[in-house]
Amino acid sequence: MAKVKPRVKVPKKAKAGETITIKSLISHPMETGQRKDKKTGDLIPRRIINKFEVTFNGEDVITVDIDPAVSANPYFQFDMVVPEAGTVRFEWTDDDGTVYDLEKKIAIG
């Protein structure tokens, strides 16, 4: 199984009240459950990231409920308001229950 590796792009510094753009990507096959194994003809079981959540100091930024139509290596770009210095927390939930997470600090300056 390919290793699942999350990556995000978050500015290190922002002004208080500024709106910043965040990009996120996680390497994941996003197996739809509709593809067939070409050798055996069996369906390849579904395995996708079904939820992506972003919080800043515990406050909700965005939550995405994901269906199999999202491409492999799901990419999300969105905006966030930075009210104060703190930590952005990213969580990706896999169909198998695994949660991949990542945290990035933002300073005010």
């Binding site: 972003v54 930024v61 965005i62 995405v64 770009q77």
Partner: protein, 141 residues
């Protein structure tokens, strides 16, 4: 035409194909309507007020960049009406979300319409559609 074995088979195949054709189309539309109804709870949906950014022609249906935005939306549901399963994603914007917009990359099985339904903070719903032409479908295998 003589009603021999070969002709009977051809006729039979044709009839089966004719009978089967309208069914998938109906099923897909019903899936889209169902998904919208589940999202809105049956409330009225106004047209416009939601932006969908997507290429007019997507060469590779495996990864089509799509961006949705709606001013003052708390949730946006994105549907691909021509996919085997129309659900794509639901974006829920929290307190610190900048401007209720998000971009991602999606799979499209064939040329089809995208539909975005937004739930506004005041509880009303708005909807917009956009056609994307797909050269190579994204549900192969």
């Amino acid at each position: 035409m003589d009603l021999n074995r070969r002709n009977v088979l051809i006729l039979g195949t044709g009839a089966v194909a004719m009978a089967a054709l309208p069914l998938p189309a109906f099923a897909v539309d019903a899936g889209v309507d169902e998904a919208i109804a589940a999202f809105t709870g049956g409330a009225d949906v106004a047209d416009g007020g939601v932006d969908i950014e997507a290429p007019e022609i997507a060469e590779n249906g495996n990864t089509v960049p799509v961006a949705v935005s709606a001013d003052g939306a708390s949730e946006i549901l994105l549907l691909a009406t021509g996919n085997p399963n129309p659900d794509v994603a639901t974006f829920r914007f929290g307190k610190l979300s900048g401007d209720s917009s998000a971009a991602t990359r999606i799979r499209l099985a064939k040329t089809q319409d995208l539909v975005a339904v937004a739930k506004m903070q005041d509880g009303s719903f708005a909807k917009a559609g956009r056609t994307v032409k797909v050269t190579i479908g994204g549900c192969g295998g």
